[in-house]
């Protein structure tokens, strides 16, 4: 699992590469959760993630909830059709804005208003 960060149009893009399963969920949490930018728009790029396990789904939701705490918003980019169907069946899709490409994700996220006050 590799994690890369860069900024596109003032939006933080976090790209993951590799299977997001129990073995890496802890790493991802460790590297992301404690340093999630506040008051930002964040794209989680899953284009290079072939498989997400139950623990991986939870990691994504943890990122979403932590983002709420620091008043940021999160969108997903490029989940495979299979992952999208898993996200849909388990209800995780309801929490995220989903886009096919980083460019689209940037456009979608730019539309969202950051809340004035943090949600805890």
């Amino acid at each position: 699992m590799e994690i890369e960060r860069h900024v596109v149009d003032s939006i933080t893009v976090i790209s993951l590469a590799g299977d997001l399963d129990g073995r890496f969920a802890a790493t991802v949490q460790e590297q992301l959760l404690t340093s999630l930018p506040a008051d930002e728009r964040i794209l989680l790029d899953l284009t290079k993630v072939p498989f997400v396990s139950s623990a991986g789904l939870r990691t994504m939701l943890l990122i979403y909830r932590q983002a709420q705490v620091v008043n940021s918003t999160v969108a997903l980019v490029g989940p495979s059709p299979e992952l999208r169907s898993v996200l849909s069946a388990t209800g995780f899709l309801g929490f995220f804005v989903v886009a096919d490409t980083v460019a689209e994700g940037v456009k979608e996220l730019s539309k969202t208003e950051l809340k004035r006050s943090g949600v805890t």
Partner: protein, 711 residues
């Protein structure tokens, strides 16, 4: 194995010993089962007579164990072995137990150290992850316990607590509901597929789904090929539980990834969001372990004499008709069932339970019926289950029939089998049923006088027996496809084919059948008590005369969505009837009507009529039952509803009771009329031109509502 970074802020989060190369420490005895704790997993297992126990660990899908960890004897307190194991990759681990019995077993002991046993408390099980994929019959451990997270994001959901009097229950099968290609859902036959059909349930108007068994079972149990047809026969219904704490993985689109728990919870969440409750059909009368020749899965090898009712010689009592009988009133088993239901109510937010062959819950350890059985009593008073429906199928296969007498503690409801039998007999025109029908229409006070009318779950059809379309199309069962020489299934169906056995092009017969279906559903939905509709009856679903389609995973037992077009007028009729019920509180009260003017509206709360108003005919040959319900309306005014049910083969003119000044009779439904005149929008019913007399057609029913003119 290396463990990921763990914040150890508890003294007991450090290992104290090593077993088989794993860091371990004495575990916590409660709760039973496997629980994730900081840095590890706590395993706790009970056996009253075992001398030693090992924890057996597998990597996912591998046939041979990766490790076997004997519980050190000092890890045992009483009959409970508990051990915390650190550093497990809990997504990749499947676990089980090996149990060593005493050197000199008692009669009825079935310890077998050669077997690996599943955890009865496993919250997820693997082995049957994708429905219908043939299993490896040589797997030494076919149903495997898995570790789970219990941190679903409910996003504010909670059980709905719809008042029971407002419920309309819809009994369905998770797979059968959307498996048919006509369903059009993206994940046919799954929990997710059911979610896609919520708009249909909303449109129909039901507000509670009762799901046939969803606890993990093996669809391949007793599976075989029907030699005559070549069909693969399954355990399709699932009344044979393997894992009581685990949702059926094969019903989840995500079962292959082990995410059935999330998918199930999301289904509950989405149903709740749509205002629909979830009741589970639970099977505690027996387990999938069968009799002496059945498989050893868990209970048998853990503690056979505790979990099963045994004869003094150690053989299985068979009050369930399936080989064994769960020993529900043994204190250990009672706790097990109790915790299982608490778990589903709290962890899965389900709104109630229907207990299969519940009379077994009222039997003692020796099989004899008990006056005051502890299990039904404990469930009735449980704090967590307070708002859950508890519905007993109040009979069993051992001849105990407790409809009206199931130990209820003023809390339990029952599937009212007498309602089903009486309405069926009346509808087919049997003599001598008018008086009994009257009793059933007002909540069966003969059975539930000292309880509430809501003790009666009224139904005419359920999964067991004919569908409604078959009830009016077949005199006899036609179960040849079950490959049991038509011996299985009930013989006392009280059905009538309307003149021709099975499908026919005869328009007269077809019209009569449609009318009979409407009669049944109309009476059901104006009856006091909680109505239950069998999924598919609203669109006239047939099983070709099969009244026990338990082993068919084929279009025979699936919901055919194209029926919506062909039988759209029936669907329209049923949804209007549900809407009508919802609009009239006098049809849904807690209390049985008494025949007195309870509401000060100048009319008795129920009055009985015949060809002449106020003159009912209760004679043996009467096939006409007319009643008026009067009382307070939801808007504060008074409400009057008149129901006439004519099972006679001739029309009858009936004199209508006179309404209060200014009120006039309006026609809600008349099953003798052709669509769309058969039913009207509640609140917009047309006024009757003749307010003194009306005609109730042959084998028809009509419902009138009193309203002020122009209102």
């Amino acid at each position: 194995m290396t463990s990921p970074l763990v914040l150890r802020d508890r003294i007991d989060s450090f290992p104290t010993d090593q077993v088989a190369g794993y860091n371990v420490r004495p575990g916590r005895t409660f709760p039973f089962g496997a629980t994730l704790v900081p840095g590890g997993v706590n395993f706790s297992i009970f056996s009253s007579g075992a001398e030693a126990v090992s924890l057996v660990l597998f990597r996912r899908d591998e046939k041979t164990p990766v490790a076997e960890l004997p519980f050190p004897d000092e890890y045992r307190i009483g009959g409970v072995w508990a051990m915390t194991v650190f550093g497990l990759d809990f997504e990749d681990i499947e676990y089980g137990y090996r149990v060593f019995g005493p050197a000199e077993p008692e009669p009825g002991d079935r310890y077998d150290a050669g077997q690996i046993l599943a955890d009865p408390y496993a919250k997820a099980m693997s082995g049957r992850n994708v429905w219908g994929v043939p299993p490896d019959w040589n797997d030494p451990y076919p149903y495997r316990s898995r570790l789970t997270f219990d941190d679903f994001d409910w996003d504010g959901d909670r059980p709905l607590r719809i008042p029971p009097e407002d419920l309309v229950i819809y009994e369905t099968h998770v797979r059968g509901f959307t498996r048919h290609s006509s369903s059009g859902v993206s994940q046919p036959g799954t929990y997710a597929g059911l979610v896609e059909k919520i708009p249909y349930l909303r449109e129909l108007g039901v507000n509670c789904v009762e799901l046939m068994p969803v606890f993990e079972f093996d669809e391949f149990e007793n599976s075989r090929i029907n030699e005559a047809t070549g069909e693969q026969l399954f355990n399709y219904w699932g009344y044979s539980t393997v894992g009581f704490f685990a949702p059926k993985a094969g019903y989840a689109a995500t079962g292959r990834y082990g995410m059935q728990r999330d998918e199930f919870k999301n289904m509950v969440k989405e149903l709740h969001r749509a205002g629909i409750q979830v009741v589970l059909d639970v099977v505690f009368n027996h387990t999938a372990e069968g009799n002496e020749n059945g498989p050893t899965i868990h209970f048998r090898g853990l503690d056979n004499r505790t979990y099963y009712m045994l004869t003094p010689e150690g053989y299985y009592y068979n009050f369930s008709g399936t080989g064994n009988t769960f020993n529900c009133n043994n204190p250990v088993v009672r706790d097990y069932v109790h915790w299982c239901l608490r778990y589903w109510a709290s962890e899965y937010h389900v709104d109630g339970f229907r207990f299969d062959l519940a009379a077994i819950l009222a039997r003692g350890l020796d099989g004899a019926p008990m006056q005051n059985p502890p299990l039904p009593e404990a469930l009735a008073y449980d704090p967590l289950l307070r708002d859950c429906l508890l519905i007993a199928e109040a009979w069993d296969a051992g001849g105990l029939y407790q409809v009206g007498s199931f130990p209820n503690y003023f809390r339990w409801s029952e599937w009212n089998g007498k309602y089903r039998d009486t309405v069926r007999r009346f509808l087919k025109g049997d003599a001598g049923t008018a008086g009994d029908l009257a009793t059933r229409l007002v909540g069966s006070p003969d059975l539930y006088k000292h309880r509430s009318a809501l003790a009666s779950v009224n139904f005419i059809t359920c999964h067991d027996g004919f569908t409604l379309a078959d009830l009016v199309s077949y005199n006899d069962k036609h179960n040849e496809a079950n490959d049991e020489d038509n011996r299985d299934g009930a013989n006392d169906n009280n059905s009538w084919n309307c003149g021709v056995e099975g499908p026919t092009d005869d328009e007269g017969v077809r019209r009569l059948r449609l009318r009979q279906m409407k009669n049944a559903l109309l009476l059901l939905l104006v009856s006091q008590g909680i109505p239950m509709i069998l999924s598919g009856d609203e669109v006239g679903r047939s099983q070709q005369g099969n009244n026990n389609a338990y082993n068919h995973d084929t279009p025979l037992s699936w919901f055919d969505w194209s029926l919506q077009e062909g039988n759209g007028d029936l669907l329209r009729f049923v949804s209007r009837c549900i809407e009508f019920r919802m609009a009239h509180t006098i049809l849904r009260g807690h209390h049985h009507p008494t025949g007195d003017d309870q509401y000060g509206c100048g009319y008795p709360d129920v009055s009985w009529h015949g060809v002449n108003a106020w003159q009912p005919d209760w004679s043996e040959t009467s096939r006409l039952v007319c009643l008026m319900r009067s009382g307070a309306a939801a808007n504060g005014g008074t409400d009057h509803i008149y129901v006439a049910a004519n099972a006679h083969w001739d029309d009858h003119d009936v004199e209508l009771p006179v309404l209060p000044d200014g009120m006039r009779w309006h026609l809600f439904a008349d099953t003798s009329a052709q669509t769309p005149a058969d039913v009207h929008d509640p609140g917009a019913e047309p006024v009757l031109t003749n307010q003194q007399w009306t005609t109730v057609g042959a084998r028809s029913a009509l419902v009138l509502v009193g309203r002020f003119s122009g209102v």
